[in-house]
Amino acid sequence: MSTETLAAAPVAEGRPMDLLRFATAGSVDDGKSTLIGRLLYDTKSLFTDQLAAVEAVSAARGDEYTNLALLTDGLRAEREQGITIDVAYRYFATPRRKFIIADTPGHIQYTRNMVTGASTADLALILVDARKGLVEQSRRHAFLCSLLRVPHLVLCVNKMDLVDFSQEVFDRIADEFTAFAAKLDVPDLTVVPISALRGDNIVSRSENMQWYEGPALLHHLERVHIASDRNLVDVRFPVQYVIRPQSTTVTDYRGYAGQVASGVLKPGDEVMVLPSGFTSRIAAVETADGPVAEAFPPMSVTVRLENEIDISRGDMICRPNNAPAVAQDIEAMVCWMDETRPLQVGGKYSIKHTTRAARAIVRGLHYRLDINSLHRDESASELGLNEIGRVRLRTTIPLLADEYRRNRTTGGFIIIDEATNRTVGAGMIVETP
């Protein structure tokens, strides 16, 4: 590891630090753990006792080099088996940004973990080995990122040192991946040639690849523009909790607490409440620190309305001329996550969508998708663990929903098994009536 470092202390003054969540996909063989270790180390986010512990275990196991995968493999079973089973979260910061890494395993049997990590990601980082080029797994990762609508994708062509930093090798992989991504819904793609082990193009531009004119990886992560990824157009405020203090000092207070899913809410705005359809105006948008002039994602606020209308958890505040669908028949892409029982037509489940709970019956399975070939199998009758398909659901009460492609918060839902209470599926709404 190089001793080149960056100051990790966030700046208190000047440009405020913001937050970028990114998911990494790949296997140990691609050098993913080495890359994460390198990012943590070079931003001073890796501590000496963590490193010493990893070095000691590595040495005891007879590894030839310090196995940075041990840093992210937090569970005993993972260390014993040398595989990453579950999503691990890692944190580092530069003076510009705080980063949350959802480190997900790459193998097909862990698709649900990758889907989980990608669900909250602003950016996904896919690694390929320059010697091997694109493999089935790389295409699958790109597809899952597009399915989950991760706004930014970075392909890291790793181990460039092992192909003599060849521009030709890089261009071939970059071209092939770009052509594949064009068939998917990938709004922003960046391809970076790196060597995670040697630090090329990680923190600073590599001297070994003068032909590469793009930014170093960290530079890109620090500057990729994420503010516009949020939907600031469609006002969606799922009511989470009604604050009605039972106190002698605060009387007649009624506030609707929640986190802004999308849009901008301001005092004076005319709003509509679903499912009732009643309209009112925003009297105030408040936080514990006082009223605010406007609220936007991801702020958690309390909205007060001019009229007293009946509103409870699970209702949605929107605008009269811009409202989500109120729908009981839902078309969705579903990723199944349960190893014990498959999703079947006729199956009944609970679902959670925004702050709303409903029951649902599976009315139809249009097709199961082969996530490697993208082939649609219309003869499929069920979805097993890690399988993805297009499903039609009928819910007991209407969902207040948008298409997932338009709104990741009001377009996503989870499916819960009513007997075990486990989360067994993730759904992305593709069509609303």
């Binding site: 999503v87 691990a88 890692r90 669900s119 909790y241 986190q259 991801p298 918060t409 989870i414």
Partner: protein, 302 residues
């Protein structure tokens, strides 16, 4: 809050997420409780709870698992905060559990591990079904795998290989009677984030978090305060040092670090420059084995 270009700072984003999580719990679960140790993380959680339900009161009690090995400054702080916020305090007492025979003193006299049955008994007695804990994923590698909403079976056990997938901000708190959910609103905060927030919100902390003179002994490379729970052993040199605590836990297994940081600004500088994790620097309980935390968490530790 900077509304220029509709951007929020990382601290605002973390705060908004934690508040969202706390409101979800109160909206969906019948009997939540907040685990309050008087440590900085639980103090920050309490501030977030105040904000989440303002102008109302915090709508749940707080619980202190009292090992009997306390720093007096921390107990004072606890009682003061509880009174200021008119909170209901539940004390799960290890000394009482020792007296009743529920647990037995460990051979080395530390009480970290025997807290777990005491906690679980109190949870059962009060029928708490959601427990807010101040654990952060940056603290320790087993905690890096922890969910925001973490399911516990009827024995209070965590099964790390069988966790519920957690997607978007859709948290699944469903459980059967007797089971419970541990909720970690600070999951995505780092030690430095916590300190920046303490500075921004001007949150008072127990004085032992700031540099002070204390009589200590050096043991296993760490500095331990000499007190009634931790007498100096034969051959150990007692000496005065300027120290502060990075974490607050059981007084018999929590070590201090040398420090001159006597203000929140100086602590932030120190934390930003430090090269050792807070638990690695100060917690004897985590040094037992590679998987010490994972093992304790499986048993129901927080």
């Amino acid at each position: 809050m900077t509304s220029a270009a509709y951007q929020v700072t990382h601290l605002d984003a973390l705060e908004a997420e934690s508040i969202f999580v706390m409101r979800e719990v109160v909206a969906e679960m019948e009997r939540p409780v907040l685990l309050f140790s008087g440590g900085k993380d639980s103090i920050v959680m309490l501030r977030l709870a105040q904000k989440a339900f303002a102008p109302g009161h915090i709508p749940f009690p707080v619980m202190h698992v009292d090992t009997g090995h306390n720093f007096p400054e921390v107990l004072d702080y606890r009682d003061r905060r509880v009174a200021e916020l008119s909170l209901q305090l539940v004390v799960a007492s290890v000394p009482e559990a020792l007296a009743s025979g529920l647990v037995r003193e460990a051979a080395d006299g530390t009480r970290n591990r025997i807290q777990t049955p005491v906690l679980l008994e109190a949870v059962e007695k009060h029928r708490f079904n959601a427990l807010f804990g101040g654990a952060r994923r940056d603290e320790e590698k087993a905690r890096a795998k922890e969910r925001m909403f973490s399911f516990r079976d009827e024995f209070g056990q965590w099964d790390p290989k069988n966790q519920r997938p957690e997607l978007w901000s859709l948290y699944n708190g469903r459980h059967h009677p007797g089971e419970s959910i541990r909720v970690f609103p600070l999951s995505n905060w780092t030690e430095l984030d916590v300190w920046h927030y303490i500075a921004r919100e001007r949150i008072e902390l127990p004085s032992i978090y700031y540099a002070h003179e204390r009589e200590v002994v050096e043991r296993d490379g760490m500095l331990y305060a000499v007190n009634e729970f931790l007498p100096a052993r034969a051959g150990e040199d007692r000496f005065k040092a300027r120290v502060r605590y990075r974490t607050v836990g059981d007084a018999s297994c929590t070590a201090a670090v040398r420090s001159d940081a006597d203000t929140v600004e100086k602590v932030i500088e120190e934390v930003a420059a430090t090269r050792i994790t807070e638990r690695g620097a100060t917690r004897g309980d985590d040094r037992v084995s590679e998987a010490a935390m994972e093992d304790r968490k499986r048993e129901g530790y927080f």
